[in-house]
């Protein structure tokens, strides 16, 4: 599929949901136009022959990097919870978890 196919507002609505961004209708329109414009620019790579080219995920090739299974001192709970938006009973408090898989 070529990069230049336009992105639709329906696509943007789906993406906003995936990204958990509450975009209002005006923002959806604006984003759709901007992303479509960008994707037009990005269509330049459609011209390249990428057959048989290996994707490059990491610039410096390393393998087998490990740590040993030894307990190290962690963070202080009070310090961490002091930065929490809401805490109770030594734990992070959140509103009811609805509309999500459980």
């Amino acid at each position: 599929m070529g990069v230049s196919q336009r992105i639709t507002t329906a696509d943007v609505v789906k993406v906003a949901k995936l990204a958990r961004l509450d975009l209002d209708p005006e923002a959806i329109e604006r984003t759709t136009a901007q992303l479509a414009g960008m994707l037009e620019h990005f269509a330049d790579i459609d011209a390249l022959d990428l057959d048989g080219v290996q994707p490059m995920n990491q610039p410096y090739p390393l393998t087998n990097v490990f740590r040993e299974d030894v307990i190290l001192v962690g963070l202080d709970r009070e310090e961490v919870l002091a930065s929490a938006p809401e805490a109770e009973d030594g734990r992070f408090r959140v509103p009811p978890i609805l509309g999500l898989d459980s």
Partner: protein
């Protein structure tokens, strides 16, 4: 590093050096706005500790008493680290980034956290949620970005050196626009532990300094393997301060003949002058091609936002940072993130999420990873004929505020020359080389292959000598 030498020898007091810098901050910071936070009290305590150590006959380290500014996307324990975003306004990390720890262990004195484009996304520092930083050379113009504050802090003399981060040019471009040295090392050279991630396979921490030698010293201090970063290069690297002592006789400097056009004439003229200077110093200029170079922008603007969309998903209002309350968690996510993130960040998250989404992965992210391979391969071929390459850093000198705000793509073009090195994981640095239009600084970019820092610094030192900058 004169400051460190003086402090270690006892001929300079760290406290005095600090006060000098604080005075300059006092005088001009309200105009420049390089900092999100000036750490006056902490800095004074740190400087006093350095002086006490020297008085007790101990060596505080190779950066003794050197005032350093830290880009505000590096975690500093107990000190707000905001990434210039409302999402992290006031957030105090419970730990230090490795680079921060190493600076402190070397005796450096942190003077403040510098302003940046929000979450390091931008090329002008106009995307900061706390107001832009102004170019010390001309307050009506941008300092570049995303590490605009760190570049300006050094340019304005607020700090002797500073740290920035570079994902697509965010150290080199502001360095060029502010007339200072800025280095992005080989990917994996400096630990990313504690650097708030933007694009994990592209980010690197690097120095802003006035001199090439100072940058070499900074990298010798902060660089090197870190067990807390799985991508950090394990092998010990040679000292760069030693490398710059070598002149450029016989060094092969490549001119990329198929480089994308678009550099302003004043910038192009400075680049020619740089080639001339290196030739005069004994280097050989060779022509090379990097055919895939111009596809770097596209590959970058698919890969970086994709990784960023995942890295920034953790900002959900649950454990730290901003929370906008709502009836349920899902609603809280949506409201929090749209309130906490600025427009550019939201745009990149959207682009990145789209590029990774089901049905689109192969067309966008997957394809971009292959383009990345082509670019890296093209560079490898070029480096068979050249030791370093020379290009402009930024296509233009510093531009006026708002002049590129209408079209995000116009802003993205600022990084056309810097982006490909991040994709390949190669080192590159910007060295000030005279002035262009309106007397504004121009920087030239030296590129090298993986772990090619020694050659890169050799060339940089030669250009510096040609400009008559004394060590």
């Amino acid at each position: 590093m004169q400051i460190a030498a003086g402090v270690r020898a006892g001929t300079l007091k760290a406290a005095d050096v600090l006060e000098e810098h604080l005075a300059r901050i006092d005088a001009r910071e309200s105009d420049v706005h390089a900092f999100n936070l000036v750490m006056t009290d902490q800095a004074r305590a740190a400087a006093a500790a350095v002086d006490a150590a020297v008085a007790a006959g101990n060596d505080p380290g190779p950066l003794a008493g050197v005032p350093v500014a830290l880009k505000d996307n590096m975690c500093t324990h107990g000190i707000p680290t905001t990434c210039s975003s409302k999402m992290l306004q006031g957030w105090k990390p419970p730990y230090d980034a490795t680079a921060v720890t190493r600076l402190a262990a070397a005796g450096a004195v942190a003077v403040g956290k510098t302003n940046l484009d929000e979450f390091a996304m931008g090329s002008s520092t106009e995307n900061s949620a706390f107001g832009p930083t102004r170019n010390p050379h001309d307050l009506s113009r941008v300092p570049g970005g995303s590490s605009g504050g760190s570049a300006a802090a050094v340019a304005a003399g607020f700090a002797s050196v500073s740290l920035g981060s570079d994902t697509g040019g965010s150290i080199r471009q502001p360095a060029a626009l502010c007339g200072v040295v800025g280095v992005k090392p080989t990917y994996g050279y400096v630990s990313r532990y504690g650097l708030v991630a933007f694009a994990s396979s592209l980010d690197q921490i690097g120095p802003f300094t006035h001199t090439v030698e100072d940058s070499a010293l900074l990298l010798d201090v902060i660089g090197g393997h870190d067990i807390l970063d799985s991508t950090s290069i394990p092998a010990l690297q040679p000292s760069l301060r030693d490398a710059i002592k070598q002149d450029v006789t016989g060094l092969r400097v490549g001119r990329i003949t198929d480089l994308p056009e678009g550099a302003d004439p004043d910038v192009a003229e400075r680049l020619e002058a740089a080639f001339d200077a290196l030739r005069a110093a004994g280097a050989t200029i060779v022509d090379v091609q990097v055919p895939a170079f111009s596809y770097g922008l596209t590959a970058y603007y698919l890969i970086a936002p994709a990784e960023a969309s995942s890295n920034l998903a953790r900002y959900d209002g649950v454990r730290y940072g901003l929370r906008v309350n709502a009836a349920d968690t899902n609603a809280m996510y949506g409201a929090t993130r749209v309130a906490g993130f600025g427009e550019e960040v939201q745009r990149r998250i959207m682009l990145g999420t789209y590029a990774l989404s089901a049905g689109y992965y192969d067309a966008y992210y997957g394809k971009a990873l292959k383009v990345r391979r082509l670019i890296a391969d093209d560079f490898d071929r070029a480096y068979q004929h050249a030791d370093v390459l020379l290009t402009p850093t930024s296509p233009t000198v510093a531009f006026p505020f708002g002049s590129k705000s209408d079209n995000p793509f116009a802003m993205y073009l600022c990084d056309v020359y810097t982006i490909p090195t991040n994709l390949a994981g190669h080192p590159a640095m910007s060295v000030p080389f005279g002035t262009g239009a309106e007397g504004l600084p121009v920087g030239v970019q030296i590129l090298a292959g993986t772990l090619g820092e020694p050659q890169m610094f050799r060339a940089a030192a030669a250009l510096e000598r040609a400009m008559g900058v004394s060590k």
